[in-house]
């Protein structure tokens, strides 16, 4: 099945092509049935990816195939695919989540006039996501990277007639482009220095020392810049909350499970470069990997803080995604110990975050597109399935025991614990623990506000359960949210996931799953429960109103409410700067250049023209006129000869002939005969 791996991206691409070109026709004939083309396109990849996963799990070696695409400066650029443990896992995750989301959106997008366009973009996105996951060299990776960015732009701005959606789409695209810039520079650097663009060749080169570790480090860091943009890490995260303008399934698929995860996956894929450049001080004396960790930590804390004060459920989930990504970055940042944890958290987070987003989607559906928590309440009774699936996702996210989140998040915290013990840098452990508390807090707040209590508006009154086509994906994802954690737990075949992933990386060969540390687990579980209880107290049991906290922690609250003023910051600095710059340039263009040209124009018109006119009139015309006059004169004289009278001509002829004859005869007589002439 490994050899057929290249088919996987083909299915969604095909579906996209069909929908793109024949979509309108098909919509007229099949109506809403168009969605099933996309669903089939994705579902078809499921058996393949599962097949590949089982083969790899059963010990098959990783497989890669490549086709030469172009020759540039002596290097053959290839389109290559690679399948190893990491990509197999990602494949499965993406296909399962995408399938569920496709089914969900079939229902959700009901009645939308751009129906087939939506599914075309979704299929395109899934296809490019598979491409990204399967890429075996930097070129394909970069191509997929750009495609994914494009799809996110298209899907965010799906309802382009809404101005804020269009603005959000451009914002997302521009911000990710900044990240992609670093990514591209990294790729160019590697293209120059790396023997080949393929990952394995690069890692081998680094290992054998043909490529210097420092360059590897710099390249790694630049590529991480791309990941920061794409995964909405600390400086470039501003676009993700606004991306919520897109339809909810889009947010679920792209901004929860796949695209944002791509950055983390890329860092995971290139971890050998980070590990090799550990000893190189790249930025402020820090090696690339620690930079990753720091940014991860900052993002996690900041996002969690903002999430707590948001009213819009999708924005809360957006910030929660950002913070969880921060967690993954920290996990990867812990080096060999945190690599497996980071990846495992990526997989599990994809499932329950997708679940949460879809849940919020069904809530919105019920509430006629209403997102503000204040207007909701008591939906639990009206939407029981949505409620318990939402609660499953929340608990998984918070990291309560049986749920997936507990195992994956806990492993990251465990990794930070080990790092803290090993190197004494406890800041990561403390930060993450605070994050756990905040996460539990805002998720609890969200759940209690939406589902429990009494409905605050009549819209909430009339809310009703979503149709089955939306509920079944929720149920499936809920199941995964609950039981996925176990494959990474030490009790199941001593951490099956760890052994499977470690088998792929030679550096991980030696390490084995870290034992289950009860103290750390206990601490994080306690913090999570605390958060939940605080939320319940504030919003369920209404023991005390949140206003108290707002007054006490008012600076934190203000900062959180205004999202740490990042938008304003960027608005004034970057945006204002470019606008100012463009105005300057325009001004310069108008004043300086146009001015000069006009001046020259005026000059010629007035001064030079006069000069030329004078010269032309007098000198040239004069000469020509003289010539004309002369020829006229000659012509006149010549014409006089031709009187048109035939007989004049004959007379002329005769006279002329006579003279010639006479001359000839006399000459002949004078010379030839030598006769003495009579005279």
């Amino acid at each position: 099945m490994k050899e057929l791996v290249w088919i996987i991206p083909l299915f969604p691409f095909a579906a996209c092509a069909v929908l793109m070109f024949f979509g309108a026709g098909l919509k007229r004939r099949m109506g809403e049935g168009v969605a099933w083309i996309a669903v089939v396109g994705i579902a078809a990849t499921l058996p393949f990816s599962l097949g590949v996963l089982t083969e790899l799990v059963l010990g098959a070696p990783s497989y890669s195939c490549a086709a030469p695409w172009a020759v540039l400066a002596g290097r053959t650029l290839e389109v290559g695919f690679q399948v190893d443990a990491l990509s197999a896992v990602m494949l499965v995750m993406v296909s399962i989540v995408a399938t569920c989301i496709m089914v969900f959106s079939a229902g959700y997008m009901h009645g939308d006039d751009g129906y087939q366009r939506f599914f075309a973009y979704m299929s395109l996105f899934c296809g490019s996501m598979f491409l990204l996951v399967l890429a075996s060299n930097f070129l394909v990776l970069y191509v997929a990277w750009e495609l994914v960015g494009l799809c996110s732009y298209l899907l965010i701005g799906f309802w382009f007639y809404k101005p804020e959606a269009a603005r959000a789409a451009t914002k997302a695209f521009v911000v990710t482009r900044i990240g992609d810039l670093f990514f591209a520079i990294g790729v160019f650097l590697l293209f120059i220095y790396a023997p080949g663009l393929r990952f394995e060749e690069t890692f081998a080169a680094i290992r054998t020392g043909t490529m210097s570790a420092s360059i590897a480090g710099i390249a790694a860091l630049l590529l991480f810049g791309g990941a920061v943009g794409k995964s909405a890490q600390f400086p470039l995260h501003v676009w993700l909350p606004d991306a919520m303008e897109g339809p909810t399934p889009v947010s679920a698929l792209i901004h929860a499970a796949t695209m944002v995860a791509a950055g983390v996956y890329m860092v995971a894929r290139l971890s050998p470069m980070y590990w090799a450049s550990l000893d190189q001080a790249i930025v402020f004396g820090l090696p690339a990997l620690s930079v990753v960790a720091c940014i991860g930590l900052i993002t996690a804390l900041m996002a969690a803080l903002i999430g707590v004060t948001q009213n819009d459920i999708k924005r809360v989930l957006a910030y929660s995604t950002i913070s969880q990504l921060g967690y993954m970055m920290v996990g990867l940042g812990m080096g060999l110990a945190g690599f497996v944890a980071g990846v495992f958290h990526l997989i599990t987070h994809a499932f329950f975050k997708a679940l949460l987003f879809l849940g919020s989607g069904s809530v919105m559906h019920a509430m006629q597109e209403e997102l503000d928590m204040g207007k909701m309440g008591g939906l639990g009774r009206k939407m029981p399935v949505t409620q318990w699936t939402f609660w499953a996702g929340t608990l998984a996210l918070a990291g309560i025991f049986p749920f997936a989140g507990f195992f994956s998040k806990d492993e990251i915290i465990l990794a930070t614990w080990h790092v803290g013990q090993a190197e004494g840098r406890w800041v990561f452990f403390v930060g993450l623990e605070i994050g756990v508390f905040l996460t539990a807090l805002y998720m609890g707040r969200l759940c209690f506000n939406v589902f429990s209590g009494s409905p605050r508006t009549e819209v909430a009154e009339h809310a009703h359960e979503s149709p089955a086509v939306m509920l079944w994906p929720l149920r499936i994802l809920a199941v995964f949210a609950v039981f996925l954690g176990w494959i990474g737990s030490p009790w199941v075949m001593s951490n099956l996931f760890h052994r499977f992933l470690a088998g792929m990386r030679p550096e991980l060969e030696g390490t084995h799953a870290v034992g289950f540390n009860w103290t750390v687990a206990g601490a994080s579980t306690a913090l999570a429960a605390g958060g939940l209880l605080l939320a319940a107290a504030m919003y369920y049991w209404r023991v005390f109103s949140p206003e108290v906290l707002k007054k006490v922690l008012w600076p934190l609250y203000a900062a959180s409410k205004r999202k740490f003023w990042f938008d304003e910051l960027y608005g004034y600095t970057v945006v204002a700067g470019t606008v100012l710059l463009s105005k300057l340039m325009a001004a310069f263009d108008v004043l300086v250049i146009d001015g000069i040209v006009n001046a020259i124009g005026w000059g010629t018109r007035v001064l030079v023209a006069q000069l030329i006119r004078w010269f032309d009139l007098i000198v040239i015309d004069g000469a020509i006129n003289v010539m004309a006059f002369l020829t006229g004169l000659v012509g006149e004289a010549g014409a006089r000869l031709q009187s048109g009278k035939v007989q004049d001509y004959v007379a002329g002829l005769a006279i002329f002939a006579a003279t010639i004859a006479a001359a000839a005869v006399l000459a002949a007589l004078w010379w030839r005969l030598g006769t003495p002439l009579p005279w």
Partner: protein, 207 residues
């Protein structure tokens, strides 16, 4: 016979002399007639007589075939043709030669120049050659036989080519002359009834 040498000429030569004067006189007089005849038809008839005169000269010079051909072809056919042409064009009578002719001067000058130039030169040449008047003795062949033989031996090519030229000329003349009828019908419908009908009379013609 007591044929006496009168003025240095034998009877034979006298006869020839008289004959020459007669025919030459006819030729020259009718030549003048061609020149000064007021009506072109008369000029054409004078031409006829001139041709007969020239034929006589040929006969005098022993070119009997030429004499016959001259009369048969020239006088008989060409003169008739010219007269026919004049008949067709008679109505558009050209004015006489002497009445206010702008080209009179040109004519006198050119003819005069010719004569002035040729006469003395020929005179000198002939004087130099001693007024040749004796003819080479000829074999017994008659002129007819000689011409016939020469035509079919030495000058065969000229003979054949001449037939071609005649044919071409004939065709050319027919095409040119015949065009009048067709073109009349096509081009100038109002010029029906042949050319004569609307030939401008003497006065009407623009001066």
């Amino acid at each position: 016979m007591n044929l006496v040498q009168y003025y240095g000429l034998t009877a034979e030569q006298w006869l020839e002399y008289v004959g020459f004067l007669g025919t030459a006189g006819v030729a020259l007089v009718s030549g003048l007639g061609v020149l000064f005849a007021r009506r072109v038809l008369h000029a054409a008839v004078w031409l006829l007589f001139c041709l007969l005169g020239v034929a006589g000269l040929f006969a005098l010079m022993g070119a009997h075939v030429l004499f016959g051909v001259q009369i048969l072809v020239y006088a008989g056919a060409i003169a008739v043709m010219i007269i026919f042409a004049v008949l067709l064009l008679e109505r558009a009578t050209g004015r006489g030669i002497l009445s206010g002719n702008r080209h009179l001067f040109a004519g006198v000058v050119s003819a005069g120049a010719f004569v002035v130039v040729m006469a003395p030169t020929l005179g000198v040449a002939l004087w130099a050659a001693g007024w040749p008047s004796q003819t080479a003795p000829t074999t017994g062949q008659t002129n007819v036989a000689l011409i016939g033989r020469l035509f079919l031996t030495r000058h065969l090519l000229a003979f054949e080519l001449m037939s071609v030229v005649l044919l071409v000329a004939m065709i050319g003349a027919i095409v040119l002359a015949r065009a009048e009828r067709r073109s009349d019908a096509e081009e100038a419908p109002e010029a029906q009834g042949g050319g004569a009908a609307h030939v401008p009379t003497e006065e009407a013609r623009p001066s």
